[in-house]
Symmetry: C2
Subunit: 473 residues, 2 copies
């Protein structure tokens, strides 16, 4: 099996998903049992039948580093081992490679594409990765070092330098012959065409190559307007372009338009997954880049990632509470007012969360552009007003009946309408303003908007109540 097979083109036997939704749990149970019994022979047989992606997933779900190492050692041949490695996440890589000599790791890595080599190496401690780089073949380690020099999460850091490119004056026939002789061509979806100075000038598909006359020169058949990114393009931007233009791979060029690498769609799929996860976690007020750190780090690390926003919100909620304390004389006069404090606060928070989620996702996917903001704002405030009328009406009726006090109902109802208009407008504006100042809008939603809305909602409600206090008694 050559290196090519390790990427994107090996439809081995899958374990999870599809018609077999619960089969993964079954396999995991079996493996755990065999591990406990030390039934290495059986284990080896199971592992050999699994797709590397499934082996990686299974390793991830095993409980101890020792178990992970035992199973990892059973993977045959080494190329599969390497593929499994490239599919693991940081913590798991650390676990399985913990005791492995650097020379063995260097041997394993040689079967991977350079982007995967770089990925595995960045997850290891600095000292270890240096040692491994020294033990690799000079040309391999040079490639990996090149990749490592780019900022993380940029096109340069995630690209592979294993692409297939030819010059403009190559004929279709020669191109096919070169392709047949090439080794590292796992990612050939497009043939990139450069001039003699290695500047990217065009692109054509493998299929096009097959459908023209043998003597046609590539220069005459290429698309010259190539969608490309530079090495410093953010990976989420790369993902957007690949998604928008339905590409299978996107070329990466340096500042002089020299072709230096490509990023393939399978990596883009991962980026999209991770970006969505990151946004969701941010919206829940968790300061974290990868879900994995959150679920598999120590409990103390997890607390550290979750506390910063919580403390901000703690202060916010103490402000809400202090406002209640400020209005304590009003509350003492009409205790029934307390009944609607959670109602006003909760509805303001919830309606705001709906608005900000929509805006944030719209900004992230490009469905909402800066030019749409005014329209979206007006629309959201109107929606807030209508929902306020509806919920305010329900609350009014409830207050009037429960406390036999129509005036209380009117105060609560009017406060609800005002609070929801405020809440939808804040929830719309805040992400947009943050985005304009370069802050990720996702951090604005969730707890932050909710707390701000708590404060304004309660203030509106109790100010109104105080103003009309004589009617309420």
């Amino acid at each position: 099996m050559d290196r090519i097979e390790s990427k994107a083109e090996r439809p081995d036997k899958p374990v999870g998903g599809g018609r077999t939704a619960s089969r993964f749990d079954l396999v995991l149970d079996t493996v755990a049992r065999l591990l406990r019994r030390g039934a290495i022979g059986n284990l080896e047989r199971i592992v050999s039948k699994m797709h590397p992606a499934d082996v990686a997933k299974m390793l991830h779900h095993l409980n101890t580093a020792q178990e992970k190492r035992t199973v990892f050692e059973l993977i045959k041949p080494d190329t599969s081992k390497a593929t499994v490695l490239s599919e693991l996440d940081e913590g798991d890589i650390g676990d399985v490679l913990q005791d492995m000599p650097a020379a063995d790791i260097a041997m394993l890595l040689k079967d991977l594409p350079d982007d995967d080599q770089a990925y595995v190496i960045t997850t290891l401690p600095e000292e270890r990765s240096q040692e491994i780089l020294k033990l690799m073949k000079p040309e391999d380690s040079a490639e990996v070092k090149d990749l490592l020099q780019y900022e993380p999460k940029t096109a340069g850091a995630i690209m592979t330098t294993e692409y297939f490119s030819l010059t403009e004056d190559t004929t279709a026939e020669e191109a096919i012959r070169k392709l047949q002789g090439a080794k590292d061509t796992g990612n050939v979806f497009y043939v990139y065409v450069t001039d003699r100075g290695e500047k990217l000038v065009g692109v054509l598909s493998l299929r096009q190559l097959l459908q023209v006359q043998p003597h046609t020169r590539l220069g005459t058949m290429i698309k010259r307007e190539v969608i490309s990114v530079t090495t410093d393009t953010d990976q989420e931007e790369v993902a957007k372009l690949v998604a928008r233009y339905n590409l299978l791979a996107i070329p990466v060029v340096d500042k002089e338009n020299t072709l230096v690498g490509i990023i393939t769609v399978d990596d883009v799929v991962d980026i999209i997954h991770d970006a969505a996860t990151e946004d969701m976690l941010k919206m829940s007020g968790t300061q974290i880049e990868e879900e994995d750190v959150l679920m598999h780090s120590s409990v103390f690390q997890a607390v550290r990632h979750r506390v910063p926003w919580l403390l901000t919100n703690l202060i916010g909620s103490i402000v809400s509470g202090s406002i209640l304390w400020f209005f304590r004389f009003t509350i003492e006069e009409v205790v029934a007012l307390v009944t609607f404090i959670p109602v006003i606060a909760a509805m303001g928070g919830n309606v705001g969360l709906q608005s900000s989620t929509m805006i944030i996702r719209g900004l992230a996917t490009g469905r909402i552009e800066q030019s749409d903001v005014k329209r979206v704002f007006a629309r959201e405030v109107l929606i807030g007003f209508l929902i306020g009328l509806l919920c305010g009406g329900v609350t009014l009726a409830f207050a009037a009946i429960m406390h036999i006090n129509l005036h209380l109902g009117l105060v609560v109802g009017v406060a609800m309408v005002c609070a929801l208009c405020m809440s939808t407008s804040m929830a719309t504006i805040m992400p947009v303003v943050l985005k304009r100042y370069g802050v990720d809008p996702a951090v604005a939603a969730g707890p932050f908007v909710t707390t701000a809305n708590d404060i304004t909602g309660i203030t509106i409600y109790l100010s109104l109540a105080t103003t009309f206090l004589s009617y309420l008694k």
Copy 2:
């Protein structure tokens, strides 16, 4: 330009993104200005230079249906028009096709792959789509009708029947010749191999085909364990498989394992995007399948989509409020207690939101399996306890200082610890239980968990306060 070019292989000049983040707004402004001035010639020139995906995006952001129609009419040639159409969403398709005769629509559609034809047709009113189907070539309309019969959001409904398959006894040489002669082969990444009964038996990549001896029979070189889905597989399941196994396309078979279609990775990218959006909106308590309906439907429709959960939460918050009312004598005795009602409620909600977001996303991406649930639960409750100690400590100090009442501080602090343990455990269990009963866990998070946590938090707090009331005064 043939049909092939309309998919995945046309790197035209891109407008948005990359180094030109704000260029899209610029183009949109220019187009809007030219539309107002009626400068059709200039408009046509701009549109002709744009990539169809960008034209589609621009149409989406224009304000009126009339403007959309005007710009759409300027797209040349008809194949580009068809591509733009397939990239639009439901509302926009309705706008641009509103006045177009059915015969013209049928003519436009013939340049699209059958899955895109089916997509456009499903967005049109029943009567219109029937008319168009009658006007299409019988073989085309038969294909589309086949696709339309599958349940929406299943593999059958989103697949294309335009794939490239050969029988086992074909030689590599013959295969290449057939590929060169084929017309509808835009999606050739893999060659699917069937037996004489059209049952799927294997797969090989286009590149493999080029690298073997011309007389090799396909049957001897194929991978026989093909990852496939059946026509009724849910589209999100399809996306998971394509992502996990890094596929470029996945074959779709019927119950007898007969190959009936394929789903390509570009469609999977869209599914992943939409699934993430759907989950986020659900987590914010919005009952909606597509963000688009939310942003571009009428205000009343938007309210209707957002109100159901809000009313549930309104009732929940009225329950919270009633609990306050139930404890009114305690509150009247120690008014300082009101200060910490929003604090306990908000923190319970926020910490719970963090937990449930992580669990829901973990379940959706497969990072958390049912077998991990116990471990995750224990972990989250411990995290809740630790965060409770921290936040409880801060609140205790604050209460003791602000109200010069250490006992009040102790009650608030202990209530915080209990509330956060409850909140993390509920937030962890609820999504898992819902998932087991086939309900989408995303609906459990956001407002629902928040409201439940409001109620328990307030109840814990005021029960404690009532129990130790004599110490608080």
